[in-house]
Amino acid sequence: MSLKHRLSAVNWLPIAAATLVACILLSLLSSSFMSYTNLQSVLVQASVTAIMAIGMTFIIVTAGIDISVGAILFFTSSLFAKLMMDTGSYTLAFACALLCATVLGALNGVLIIKYKITPLITTLATYTMYRGMAIHLTGAQNIPVPREMGFLGNGKLLSIPVPILLLAVVLAVGLYLFNATRFGLYARAIGNSAQSARESNLPVNKVTVFAYALGGITTGIAALILLARVGGLQSGIGIGIEFTVIAAVVLGGTKLSGGDGTIVGSVIGAIFLVLIDNGLNLMNASPYVYDIVKGSVLLIAVVIDKVSVTRQQQHLLNQRAARIRATG
């Protein structure tokens, strides 16, 4: 296989290119952009969505979707804050929160395979349920978390911010699961064709539940980081983040129709989305133009993506044509 051929299979290249372009543009537009601290803070800001996007990638490659992650984040944070306040035990709170996030995620998977309702409507239903449960739990109160929690949000280990380290760990695990394990391969296979997967005797149900559980646990980790960074539970925290997460995944080159995707792409997608906000903030843009700029940038990004993919394909076709001409 030629290098070109190999590259054409790397579907996160377009978003990486778009991100690079965005970085160059921003460093021209704002002198403070290219500073070490700013780039670091971009990564820290992206960590929450990026971690969730890694989990979401597994779900989307199975041709599923999870609208409820925002609500899982809300519920998990609520549970954690509540437990912290009531018991003061870190171990208990951490364990319960992560377990609970995983279980809620897995529950989505179980409901999807049990009721055979499309993932969208299933997770839409659980979205309202989880959200209701979270408000029920806290009565829409804000709950502060202890200051030491802040370590998760802005502490440093080996002079690298903890959220970035966590992102790196989740990324490494995600890459491994995706590329080296049966689960990763099966997930892609199921997304390609659930029918064929069944014909090939793949454990469709187990893989589905596991994928959603992964979505849950990554959301749990993200929830704890976010909670630590904003210093306490706020009612409605995380609601709406699902669209950002899905957008990061799709921007990263994962097809919503399933079967095909990359973990690295999702992380770059999340960073790209944060870059837009970062740039607008740095340039002191009027609060009213944020959405317009963000929307336009998204549109430009998909166009760039399309153009580059089309050009790659065209190149391969030309190669083939040359081969055929040569045999004549």
Binding site: A180, F183, R188, S196, E199, N201, G259
Partner: protein, 502 residues
């Protein structure tokens, strides 16, 4: 038990299957012994694929008992019981690589750590056995239909240690690949693997199998040794009536040119020139991957090209499908699942899809579909499509019946130029003959037909002229009086031999 025979690899007793109350398979009982090839024959919709699905654990039987190696099992587990199957509709994962597809049900290495090099190696071995050259790192979606079928076979062979079920494995294969498959089947047979072979090609069945089981309307109507059963008898057992003499008569074409192709080139072929006259059937032979399908699709305005394409003497510049349809051109795709059928939609809608305006009620322009149902019903009867109702989703039809629906869609447009790519793929013998007669009649009525087929006898029977393609080039042309099967195959295949030598 006093039999001297070895234990049956697989035996079934009174197997039955009903879909929401409608029985499609009933009273199927047979035993399958190691090292024997059993042909499962029957018309389209007879229940062959459904039986296969029950045998490999995809469908739970409504009634009956399945024994694997003498043990009664409730659910068949392909991997555990050593049963592999090639499904009629490809069950591949298009965005995974060839190697991943082949090994997916039995990956080397630990569950938490797949051994990818080993996986590639296994895949290469499997493909080498079949004697085809496919890059195992290639994504399956980049392969043509023929190569996909090979991959599917390679995948099934991997864990078919005891029983292998082949559901119409040869529909997309050309002669050399078929031969390789047969060689392989013989080898497996020697190794003691029992094979169930489903096919509509009687030649193959007589060449390969030891025994047969015949289904008709879901019931087992006969079984026995192939050697003791004359071909005619078996055919009549399948269809349940006496068959007419199977010979189509061709009428000579007119001199009027319907399609002219001059120096046509694209990414997939180079410098193609030919013409088709009204009333002529022009066959194109070639191995898989020769680019026949691409030429056919280009003629229908589906792909960009360089060169000249004339329909009725009028040059088509950057045509699209709609323009070609307006000129009376139609194209029957070889890949019915991907490019042909609207799976969840009804048979009726599938039949009318290419000619919606035909059904439009005139009173209010563009509104309503008066006459759609009766037209559809007419075509269902004409093509003998076995379907409970025209409102049934087309995906629940048997493979051969799906093919007939697709054919019906295009015949309903009353074409003047008919491009047919593997028109009888998966169609049973009776229906195939009917379709051949229809094609001949179409030609006789002045329609120009371009026939692409991997079924050489079909080409020889039906064509006035045959072009041979190899790797995107036309390498030969035969007039009907010079038809020579051996020469056509060797001309089509010579590149493959060259490649092997190199």
């Amino acid at each position: 038990m006093f039999t001297k025979q070895p234990i049956a690899s697989l035996s079934v007793l009174g197997l039955a299957k009903a879909f929401s109350g409608k029985t499609v398979v009933k009273d199927v009982s047979f035993s399958l012994y190691p090292g024997e090839i059993v042909a499962l024959v029957g018309e389209n919709g007879a229940g062959k694929s459904t039986t296969k699905n029950m045998l490999c654990g995809l469908l739970p039987p409504s009634e009956g008992e399945i024994q694997v190696a003498g043990q009664t099992v409730t659910v068949v587990d392909g991997k555990q019981h050593g049963i592999g199957a090639v499904h009629q509709e490809l069950s591949l994962f298009s965005s995974l690589s060839v190697a991943q597809n082949i090994c997916i049900s039995d990956l080397p290495g630990k569950p938490g750590r797949i051994d990818w090099p080993a996986c590639r190696q296994i895949a290469e071995q499997q493909l080498a056995q079949l004697g085809v050259d496919v890059d195992v790192n290639q994504r399956v979606e980049n392969l043509g239909a023929g190569k996909q079928q090979i991959v599917e076979i390679a995948k099934a062979l991997l864990h078919a240690s005891k029983v292998l079920i082949l559901d119409e494995p040869t529909t997309s294969l050309t002669a050399p690949e078929r031969e390789r498959l047969f060689t392989l089947m013989r080898r497996l047979k020697k190794q003691g693997v029992a094979i169930i072979f489903i096919s509509h090609f009687m030649d193959e069945i007589y060449q390969m199998s030891d025994k047969f089981i015949c289904l008709r309307d879901g019931r087992q109507v006969g079984s026995g040794n192939i050697a003791d059963t004359p071909r005619r008898e078996l055919e009549e057992m399948m269809v349940g009536r006496t068959l007419d003499e199977a010979k189509v008569t061709l009428t000579p074409p007119s001199t009027e040119l319907a399609v002219q192709v001059e120096r046509l080139s694209s990414h997939y072929f180079h410098d193609i020139s030919f013409s088709i006259r009204r009333g002529e059937v022009l066959g194109i032979a070639g191995l898989m991957g020769a680019g026949r399908t691409e030429v056919a699709e280009t003629l229908f305005g589906l792909r960009p090209f360089e060169g000249r394409l004339l329909v009725d003497g009028e040059q088509m510049i950057k045509p699209n499908v709609r323009q070609m349809k307006q000129r009376g051109v139609c194209y029957l795709t070889e890949d019915r699942r991907r490019n042909g059928l609207f799976g969840v939609r009804s048979v009726k809608e599938n039949l009318s899809a290419a000619k919606l305006s035909r059904f439009v009620q005139r009173r209010v322009k563009g509104m309503g579909f008066r006459g759609e149902a009766s037209q559809a019903q007419e075509w269902v009867e004409q093509l003998n499509i076995s379907v409970p109702s025209i409102d049934e989703a087309v995906s629940s039809l048997s493979g051969g019946n799906q093919q007939k629906v697709l054919l019906g869609r295009w015949l309903a447009t009353l074409p003047r130029v008919c491009i047919l790519d593997e028109p009888t793929k998966g169609v049973d013998i009776g229906a195939k003959f009917e379709i051949h007669k229809k094609i001949a009649a179409l030609a006789a009525s002045g329609v120009a037909v371009l026939l692409v087929s991997s079924d050489l006898p079909e080409l020889l029977d039906l064509s006035h002229r045959i072009l041979v393609m190899r790797t995107g080039h036309i390498v030969g042309e035969f007039a009907r009086e010079d038809f020579d099967a051996v020469e056509i195959i060797s001309l089509a295949a010579s590149s493959a031999f060259e490649k092997q030598r190199a």
